[in-house]
Assembly symmetry: C2
Homo-oligomer: 464 residues x 2
């Protein structure tokens, strides 16, 4: 595409007008200039991309309780220290320690076409298979209701294969995830009720590829624990196809995962004390832990370094927020949420007043808006800034998603804000071996950091 210089000029006139007339006040003009200054600082001098490189490629996957998670605590603690916040501290919490182990394999044993290796991975929190693995016939279902219909007669002794694909007609891929998440989280419990010996989940993703997606699953005290794994979408298609002509085929899978005793770990926190209303707290963060299959670059190294970038930018520009801003690296979002629990409990005990909490945990892609989870008054306080934010591509405030690490602060009165990046590529990487640093685009990551910095600036300046 070749540019048309005249059109280039014209392109910016409506944006400039929108900025100048937003709110129609001198304040709006000052705010507009400040937001531009913040964005320029991030786009020209940010360090978040190089921090993410270190976190991803030097430290690597950071599952809770692992040496890598401990190294990430140490690294981000040092970064915060070096940037000179008013206070920097660790907040201890006990976290689960689940280990994938060495063994992890599966094959389809057909009755007339030999064997096929397929790509699987254990779901987080699963028990191991018995030594030598599980070998059983497979029953394919698409909804929990089908299990109930089949009953023990149809399920007992078999492996349940949840084959519910992502709904590609949603524009936002998180809606497709929402429609399949329960099969991962509750699949083993529901299948075990009817006597299944294991579960295989079609990976929760959009692409047809050979990367299985892990993620947390759960057990119930009253229900027998059975091992649960995810199969790649290609593997799921293959298994489903083979089952159509060979319904008595068997699958063999073996997993060596296990759970160790809880380990002490930490949230990492930096605070900029409010100059006028220090008692009003604004929390912003991402989670430091990740799954173990790759580097956790996008989930959620991106959100962690974007949050750190707010601190760097405020310091670089000499912004002293009127309200207290806390930057938090949350620990253990993926399989327990213990860091989030600890933070919310301590906040409650200390009778802290959290007016807003923001999380970036939907990827480092181009930001399009913020989810807002709060009262109408809180939402309206944010929406009056829409005109200021639109020039930066932030147009979408319809979602009511905050974030898993900040959810509990809602009861304490905080408006929850979730950064909403473009979701199209998110579930190609999510919880797979593909979640590596090379998938991150520097400008997209930085635009997210700039968006968060602008919003935190406005809230810290004006309150809600």
């Amino acid at each position: 595409m070749k540019p048309n210089p005249k059109a280039m000029l014209k392109r910016y006139i409506p944006i400039l007008l929108a900025v100048v007339f937003a709110g129609n006040t001198v304040f709006a003009q000052q705010d507009s200039a400040k937001l531009k200054q913040i964005t320029n600082e991030v786009m020209l001098h940010s360090k978040c991309y190089q921090w993410l490189n270190y976190l991803s490629t030097r430290i690597g996957g950071r599952i809770s309780g692992s040496p890598q998670a401990a190294a990430a605590v140490e690294y981000t603690h040092q970064l915060m220290d070096s940037m000179g916040a008013d206070s920097v501290y660790l907040q201890a919490c006990m976290v689960p320690r689940w280990i994938r182990g060495e063994k992890e394999s599966a094959k389809i044993l057909t009755n007339n076409a030999g064997e096929y290796n397929v790509a699987i991975c254990a779901l987080g929190g699963s028990i191991a298979t018995p030594a030598g693995g599980v070998t059983a016939e497979v029953i394919e279902v698409h909804e929990f209701a089908e299990l109930k219909k089949l009953g023990a007669a149809g399920v007992k002794g078999k492996i349940v294969f949840y084959n519910h694909p992502f709904d590609e007609t949603f524009v936002n891929t998180f809606n497709a995830y929402g429609g399949t998440f329960m099969f991962r989280y509750m699949g083993a419990v529901e299948a075990a009720k009817y006597g299944a010996v294991g579960t295989i989940l079609r990976s929760l993703g959009n692409e047809t590829d050979n990367y299985p997606h892990t993620g947390v699953m759960t057990y119930k005290d009253s229900v027998t624990q059975i091992p649960g794994c995810a199969i790649s979408t290609m593997g799921a298609d293959q298994l489903s196809r083979l089952l159509k002509t060979d319904p008595k085929l068997r699958v063999h899978f073996e997993m060596g995962c296990y759970t160790m005793p809880d380990v002490k770990s930490y949230n990492v926190i930096a605070e900029l004390k409010g100059t006028e209303h220090p008692e009003e707290i604004i929390t912003v963060g991402g989670h430091l832990d990740s799954w173990d299959l790759a580097q956790g670059a996008n989930d959620d190294g991106a959100g962690a370094v974007q949050s750190l970038e707010i601190l760097r930018t405020f310091r670089a520009l000499g912004i002293k927020p009127k309200r207290t801003v806390r930057i938090i690296m949350f620990m253990n979002e993926e399989n327990g949420g213990r860091g989030a629990k600890q933070y919310a409990e301590e906040a409650k005990q200390k009778h802290e007043k959290h007016i807003a909490a923001m999380e970036s945990d939907a990827g480092g892609e181009t930001p399009l808006g913020f989810g807002l989870d709060g009262t109408d008054a809180q939402r309206n306080a944010i929406l009056k800034w829409k005109g200021l934010l639109l020039p930066y591509g932030l147009y979408d405030f319809t979602s009511t998603e905050g974030g898993a690490d900040i959810d509990k602060l809602k009861d304490q009165g905080a408006l929850l804000l979730g950064l909403e990046p473009d979701s199209q590529r998110y579930f190609d990487l999510h919880h797979t071996a593909q979640d590596t640093f090379d998938k991150i685009n520097k400008r997209e990551l930085e635009l997210g950091a700039a968006s968060m910095s602008m919003m935190i600036y406005l809230i810290s300046q004006y309150g809600l």
Copy 2:
């Protein structure tokens, strides 16, 4: 990130309300349902991703006049035929035939630190260097004004190095491109006026990497022709750094590119005759030619297959447009625009009435809106559909960019529409060896095709 099922439900209520109340009429509800049907058809059954795979990996780079460009004409002609438009035809035009040749290399010869190979590529249309290459001192400039200041005394016999980086503070990267494009297009002419023997252009891109970006340059009859190349952004940084301590260093570069006589080529056109107003024509297309360094997947294979997808979708859903819709694969956008000229001239000769023309030539990334280049009345006719389009992420109609292949139809009364995808990654690939099929995300490409299909449907149904 874990989903919150309650929030997932709430997320969709405002969207549903927006759809239902858009326009506040029964028509809006019918339109809304039709747009959803169109999008579902594309997201579930589109073939554009597999067509792009063929165009990119089986045919490859399609520079005008090349065998690959001819193969692409043949392939898309067959595709159109197989989909059963009312008429499918070729429109002949003569196109330039520029060939890169085998030789293409450069090195920096320092006075105190040896030699460094650097990555360059010839700019499209450049003459070759003399046999054995050009070797000369280098003068670094950032604006044309600096050349004037230096004058012949400072420039004569030297290589001019245009080192104007992309402005990273623009949110839309096309604005940064607009600020640097003239150095590529006019750089050799401006430097030759002062006696330069060659030009080296800092590649027009955001990333710091080692891929040079080609693209069209021009000569003027009255000014001596000198060879022009682009150096990778990494190479540009290195050259600039070395010049600071060694201003008398020399650069050697050699290029074997040449121009052959014009070749006959074609626009490829499919037409769906309007059922009620066949005389009102709506044109939509992308360009079939590409640069030669890679596969032309994003520029502009994406736009070509998205345009074809409109035809497939209309046929699959039995949509018979009230106004005539023409799908066009334009030839020679990159270095001449001969196909566009031919199309516009024939339209004028035949006194055709083009009410709208749409182009997709800004990449296959997530669509965010359309540029609108036309009268206020035409713009307003489109903007009344904003509410219908917002649920698909189409929010931005502020740009006044149409597209290089449709520009000339504006004089004939057409509103020009340019698909506006997210621009963050576009100039990482643009005109480089990186513009390959693996960079394309299936859903992003399809959302673009769905956006174009919806807009063409609305215009063909209601006119402007």
